[in-house]
């Protein structure tokens, strides 16, 4: 995950690319996450100002959606599907395996509720890329390949 530090100018440009329409807040926040990795207090303040919303409005939206993290993520983000179809194929074991393997690493591990890859369960998303038929061994291979590419 390559993200950059929060920058007011860049943020302004993103907001302007949506014509500063307040109904685009969710879409703008996605761009912020892509660019900066997380939503800071500074970002919330600036969004409120430039979209003519209250800070409470912006904070409300940020805190409502799972996608909008308010803390910097680890070097990699691993999302393990915890929904029913993946549970039917052992995702609870995979989750435990991942927690054990990645303990102490600078990697964010979180559950996700369905990647729509339910005929290839269990499914995992690593840095935005979806993987299917993820056995414990395959999981280790995927994580090892990240190490190689930095």
């Amino acid at each position: 995950m390559t993200t950059e530090a929060y920058d007011k100018q860049t943020a302004s440009e993103i907001i302007a690319s949506f014509d500063a329409r307040s109904e685009m807040l969710v879409q703008i926040l996605h761009q912020f996450i892509e660019r900066f990795g997380w939503i800071s207090e500074d970002a919330i303040r600036q969004l409120a100002e430039e979209l003519n919303l209250s800070r409470a409005d912006v904070h409300g939206v940020v805190s409502y959606y799972h996608d909008f993290r308010t803390e910097p993520p680890g070097k990699h983000v691993v999302k393990i599907c915890a929904a029913e179809a993946c549970q039917a194929m052992g995702s609870r074991d995979l989750e435990a395996h991942a927690a054990k393997q990645l303990e102490g690493d600078d990697i964010t591990v979180e559950p996700i509720y369905c990647l729509g890859n339910c005929a290839c369960s269990p499914a995992v998303m690593v840095d935005g890329k979806t993987f299917g038929r993820v056995s414990n061994e395959r999981f280790d291979d995927i994580m090892a390949s990240l190490g190689e590419s930095g």
Partner: protein
């Protein structure tokens, strides 16, 4: 001679290595001095065979299944560019039982055509239904949709024609088409397969809807868990706009229609139509009171058709072939076809588009080949996390909206998640409550608080603490949630819970009573 090779660019196929296979094929072709045209098609939906590679030989598409990048050199050695025999060879794609025994009404272009090639789309009847709609006029289009008996494929099953009529009759200076592509139910992926395999087909469906009800703007609300879909759909929209199939005065017809693509942000409840509208307006995805219905006061307070991806994509062939033809599939009040999705612990998972009336057993055994583990089926959850767990004894129930309601279950979006006999049903009942607690929008108390209390009560039951008293409490809690919740999230979470209490009560009995 240039040989056409097809490797799907579809989430499931890519998730098991299709991109690497495509790269390996390109590299091997170069090394062997073979000239190939690599086409990234959508998926046919036979997900268990992915990555499924095809080679065009004498006008026949020869399929090779479960191809891994490492297999590619051997495939070239076996002469796969000429359809050579090897253990990966499945035969011609149009001779594979899994595919040819389906009723492909909505998904017929998926796998077959090139998703982002406008000429190829046109060669496969693309935009023909839109052109025909303009000739027929709005009223006749709505009439055809009514005659087809098409019901909302997102899960609620509301008759699409009646919804369209309501929006057409509503007064408003601006009307909208809002396509619900927030396919959040576990076990479902038909919207995704369609959007990745036939994105222009969805766009055409929205154009027809817009023309029929007098809406000039459309929105697609796509879940953020589908990044590849987002790429494909964005390109398809640009492609349509750049070639004059979206925008003002489309192809000189005088029809104006354009589409904006929005991403969801990981909230399950935003699949509920009014929460989705709130989210489209850039707000928290909080469910609205109904009435007013979105058809009267929807997006930005204007009359809005909210339809699921598959609903909208089904319309093109209804216009082309007639509503009666569509209604000739299916049974009773469940007309037409549904794209069933076989998921979870299943040997041959994937998408099966079939007329209503087929039984769960036919789908799971004949198509699905039973469980992936080879163990007996214990339970099947149909219709997502709010659907009941159906015990193996009820597998002969026909897929029909009303027949499912009769057994306390729902067809929903057609996702079928299979569990084998190792499944812990008490754990799954607890998960239903836990998921509701995580995803509740928080507007109504039964859902917000009830779900948390539900988890606690189930924990006590499993721990063996006053099991009978807690059983009664759980039933009462389910009654309250069902009767008093604002939307299906809280209102239907009790369905899976009750089904576990009814059919799998022994799974709670692991602890001992105090």
């Amino acid at each position: 001679m240039v040989t056409k090779v097809y490797v799907p660019r579809e989430t499931a196929a890519v998730s098991v290595g299709a991109d690497d296979v495509a790269i390996a094929i390109a590299r091997c072709a170069k090394e062997n001095n073979e000239s190939i045209e690599l086409v990234r098609n959508g998926s046919w939906g036979a997900t268990w065979l992915e990555p499924l590679v095809e080679v065009l030989v004498d006008d026949k598409r020869i399929a090779y299944g479960n191809v891994e990048a490492g297999d590619v050199p051997a495939l070239f050695d076996a002469g796969f560019l000429k359809g050579g025999k090897c253990d990966k060879r499945l035969g011609a794609i149009d001779e594979i039982d899994y595919l040819i025994n389906q009723d492909r009404w909505t998904f017929w272009r998926c796998g077959l055509s090139e998703p982002l090639n406008l000429d190829d789309f046109r060669a496969h009847q693309g935009f023909k239904a839109f052109e025909k709609s303009v000739e027929m006029g709005p009223a006749a289009v709505i009439e055809a949709v009514k005659k087809s008996g098409l019901r909302g494929r997102g899960g609620a099953g509301f008759p699409a024609g009646i919804k369209w009529q309501t929006v057409a009759d509503a007064s408003g200076d601006q009307k909208y088409i809002a396509c619900n592509a927030d396919e959040g139910d576990s076990g479902t992926f038909s919207d995704r397969i369609l959007m990745e395999g036939d994105p222009l087909g969805l766009i055409e469906g929205m154009m027809i809807a817009g023309f029929a009800v007098g809406a000039t703007r459309g929105y697609i609300y796509l879940r953020s868990e589908y990044p590849l879909t987002h790429k494909v759909l964005s390109k398809a929209i640009d492609l349509a706009r750049d070639s004059g199939w979206l925008g003002e005065d489309i192809q000189g017809t005088g029809v104006d229609f354009d589409i904006e693509l929005h991403l969801g942000a990981g909230s399950y409840v935003c699949g509920e139509e009014t929460a989705m509208l709130e989210s489209l307006e850039g707000k928290r995805g909080i469910v609205r009171y109904k009435p007013p219905l979105p058809a009267i006061e929807g997006l930005f307070g204007k009359p809005t058709v909210v339809n699921n991806v598959v609903t909208l994509a089904s319309v093109a062939n209804i216009v082309n072939l007639g509503g009666e033809k569509y209604a000739s599939f299916g049974v009773n009040r469940s007309k037409g076809t549904l794209a069933f999705q076989l998921a979870g612990n299943i040997k041959r998972g994937g998408l099966v588009e079939k007329g209503f009336g087929i039984t769960l057993r036919e789908l799971i055994e004949d198509w699905g080949g039973g469980t992936a583990s080879g163990r007996p089926v214990k339970a099947v959850q149909v219709g997502g996390p709010l659907g009941a767990y159906i015990p193996a004894e009820q597998l002969d129930t026909p897929l029909d909206y009303e027949a499912f309601i009769e057994i306390g279950a729902m067809v929903g979006h057609g996702g079928i998640v299979v569990f084998d006999d190792t499944a812990n049903m008490a754990q799954l009942a607890r998960f239903a409550m836990e998921f509701c607690a995580i995803e509740s929008c928080g507007k109504c108390t039964p859902c917000r608080i009830g779900s948390t209390r539900g988890v606690e009560v189930i924990d006590r039951m499993v721990a063996g603490v006053e099991r009978e008293a807690n059983y009664d409490l759980l039933v009462e809690l389910c009654d309250t949630m069902e009767d008093a919740s604002l939307c299906a999230m809280g209102g239907m979470t009790p369905f899976p819970v009750r089904s576990v209490l009814k059919y799998f009560a022994e799974d709670f009995a692991v602890g001992t009573d105090e």
